[in-house]
């Protein structure tokens, strides 16, 4: 047991939490930006998967990790635009469109993998590039903090910066206000001349970019190659976190963090002899209890205010 304690109560554990949370955060932010504008994107999982493979392929074709990332982002945008176009122009239910895209993505990535590598498993045989790891100059030398904060993949830092930017975008800017208005009541938004369709298209592009970065992180940072279905439901965690937040960005991020922390703990506990099937449910149980506690609290608050 001692050895597990050492694993958890150490700076490197916090480092790991960040690493584990990055793709989840991207997924949550992707779900959040889309839903905020009133067009739910439940294709986060699919977009991440497509972007993960396209990033790798892009880096192979262009011999550059950064161009690969661009290819990943472009593919994410394309997927998001398909969803937006079908929902806005063809008036397809976005839920349906999202499920269809997920089905499509998990098959298409395997198909692509097969066509390009001749195997349906991984791109490990391709000379793909990874995005660089960053050691932050001064911070890296600060004892504990440096160990935790420094030395992550560049996308991890982009993720943190994006989180701040999304916060500012949503709560401080004009466009953010329009996003919220479009999501809360599109007729009201239209009545004051907000171009709801344009807001939604833009939000979906943003959502696509975020999901794509989450996918690219998996295959170009976390790992250095793509493997089939490597997203392993991370996109769905993002969707759940978004739903938990009900429009509140901080709650969305906190929920994601809860999942990430418990996931990291589970990874340590998996070295013990506890039944692995039960262990794997821990992060889900954490979020499950979190939302129940949260809703009971909200309920009591409402009761108090109403009486």
């Amino acid at each position: 047991m001692e050895q597990y304690k050492d694993l958890i109560f150490s700076a490197s554990f916090f480092f790991v939490i960040i690493r584990v949370c990055v793709p989840l955060m991207f997924a949550s932010m992707s779900a959040y930006t889309a839903n905020l504008s009133g067009l739910p994107n439940i294709a986060v999982e699919g977009i991440m998967l497509i972007a993960a493979i396209m990033g790798v392929l892009g880096s192979v074709w262009t011999h550059s990790a950064w161009l690969g990332l661009l290819v990943a982002i472009a593919s994410g945008i394309l997927m998001a635009l398909i969803l937006a176009f079908s929902a806005i122009k063809l008036k397809t239910t976005p839920i349906m469109g999202g499920i269809a895209l997920n089905v499509f993505a998990s098959s298409f990535t395997v198909f692509l993998l097969f066509v390009i590598t001749g195997s349906k498993g991984t791109t490990a045989s391709l000379p793909s590039k990874v995005l660089p790891t960053i050691h932050i100059p001064i911070i890296k030398d600060i004892p504990i903090l440096g160990e935790i904060i420094s030395g992550h993949n560049v996308l991890a830092y982009i993720c943190m910066i994006t989180a701040v930017l999304v916060y500012i975008l949503v709560y401080k800017t004009k466009f953010g206000l329009h996003m919220r208005a479009s999501g809360l009541d599109e007729n009201a938004a239209r009545s004051v001349g907000i171009n709801v369709n344009r807001v939604r298209f833009t939000s979906l592009i943003l959502s696509g970019i975020l999901a794509a970065m989450g996918g690219a992180y998996l295959s170009m940072g976390y790992l250095s190659f793509f493997t089939a279905n490597m997203t392993a439901s991370r996109g769905w965690i993002g969707i759940a976190a978004e739903a938990m937040g009900r429009g509140n960005f901080i709650t969305v991020l906190l929920t994601t963090l809860v999942f990430g922390v418990f996931d990291a703990i589970t990874n340590v506990l998996s070295l013990t002899n506890l039944p692995s099937e039960l262990l794997q449910t821990i992060p889900y149980l954490a979020v499950f209890f979190a939302i129940i506690a949260y809703s009971i609290k909200e309920y009591n608050k409402k009761k108090r205010n109403n009486a």
């Binding site: 206000l177 239209r190 009545s191 171009n195 108090r304 205010n305 109403n306």
Partner: protein
Amino acid sequence: MDDIILSLQEITKVYDNGVFANRKVSIDFKKGEIHSVVGENGAGKSTIMKIAFGMEKQSEGQIVYKGKPVQFENSMEAIKLGIGMVHQHFMLIPSFTVAQSIVLGNEPVKNKFFVDYNQATKKATELAKKYNFEIDVKAKIETLSVGAKQKVEILKTLYQDAEVIILDEPTAVLTPQETDALFIELKKFRELGHTVIFISHKLNEVKQISDRITIMKNGESCGTYNACDISIEKMTELIVGRELSTSFEDIKKKLDNTKAVLAVENLEIKTTKKHTLNNINFTVKSGEILGIAGVQGNGQSELIQAIAGMRSFTSGSIHLNDVDISTIPIKQRRQKGLAYIPEDRMQDGIAANASISDNIISTYYDSPEISGKVFMKNKSIRTIADNLISKFSVKTTSAKTKIGSLSGGNIQKVVVAREYQTDPQLLIAEQPTRGIDIGSANFIHNQLIDLRNEGRAILLVSADLTEVMDLSDKLIVMYDGEIVAYFESTNDVTDKDLGLYMLGVKKQSEEEIRRAYRV
């Protein structure tokens, strides 16, 4: 001054469901005029205005603005060209503040991208002051009364600095004072050379403020008149096709053996911040209509919601026919004979995407005529629905039509018909004729009187003072969560006096008020 700013030419609109809302409607609006559009419910007034505002697209026809043909893809384009609109149904976001709602779409910005919320608050406050609307710009929309929401809607449009503003029934929920204030502003607006398009069912208002009046019927225009050339009676006749009597005194029966149906005792609602309702005591007897007068937002809505079971309260009791209903669920209250015409029909009163017949039975769907233990009796439902539709002259092709596609007035008729159908002991009528055309309003008023004459109790709340004064037997006035006056008869008070009570300038003595609670 005679140039035409906005010209609608041969506009035809057919909705997805095949309804022709407008057929070849042509109307010219001049620069610097107040132009009213009147007509019965479903005549197509809102539709033609939505088209002029770019929210709906015409199927055929043309819009000419300032001499140039325009084709609006969305309302933003209309707003850019200087057209603003206040909609018949609210277009407000509950979780936004008043200031946010007012500036939305054209926010003051700093550094190009960021909303300057301080500036927004300032601007909204100034605007409200300028138009004499008393409103807390930092309050959230969801906490506002319907009247206050209406004011926000109007401010929204005024904020956009439009040259043409369209007001779709803005006065339906305003008090006479507020309406007067609005009219003063509209006239100022006209002085500036702007154009006001005004839709209302209150023909005296229309007559009072308009320069010209267009009358619509069945989706077509029946001509535009100079306001001075047409009398209210003539308008009524053109719209309704007959004359209406407006005095109810002679048809009210005097009833004996009345008893208290509703008794509200010491009712109190305290929220975290303040008293919303304080020490409310009154009764409503069988065979009488008790009117509640008051400026919106003085506790009427909360009072009604507490009685109807839509919200809880802090202390006190509510009895219906001597049974304490203070804490029982809505369903049981209804079974004990309570009916309720809600203030906000779109939010509470209907399921917009369900059919008329589904909507017309919702509050008594488990009564034995309509359903057995498990199954609904679809045949009887059809019969009831068809009867009610024809009795209340709801304008629709069939009972299967989605209620949301009806015009506002017709939706209201369905709500009234439904509550009427439950044959209630106590009917709470909150803004019962809001947005209803004069013919139908007259009909609903007659229904209310009939109900009263049958010995039912009616609690009437309306922002339309004329309505309250005409219909009520007795009257209470509310101000700041309290009853400030009680009148045994509406003849005991003049309009002017009533206004003073409503604004909190005058208040009766405890004893006088206490008379409202008569055991």
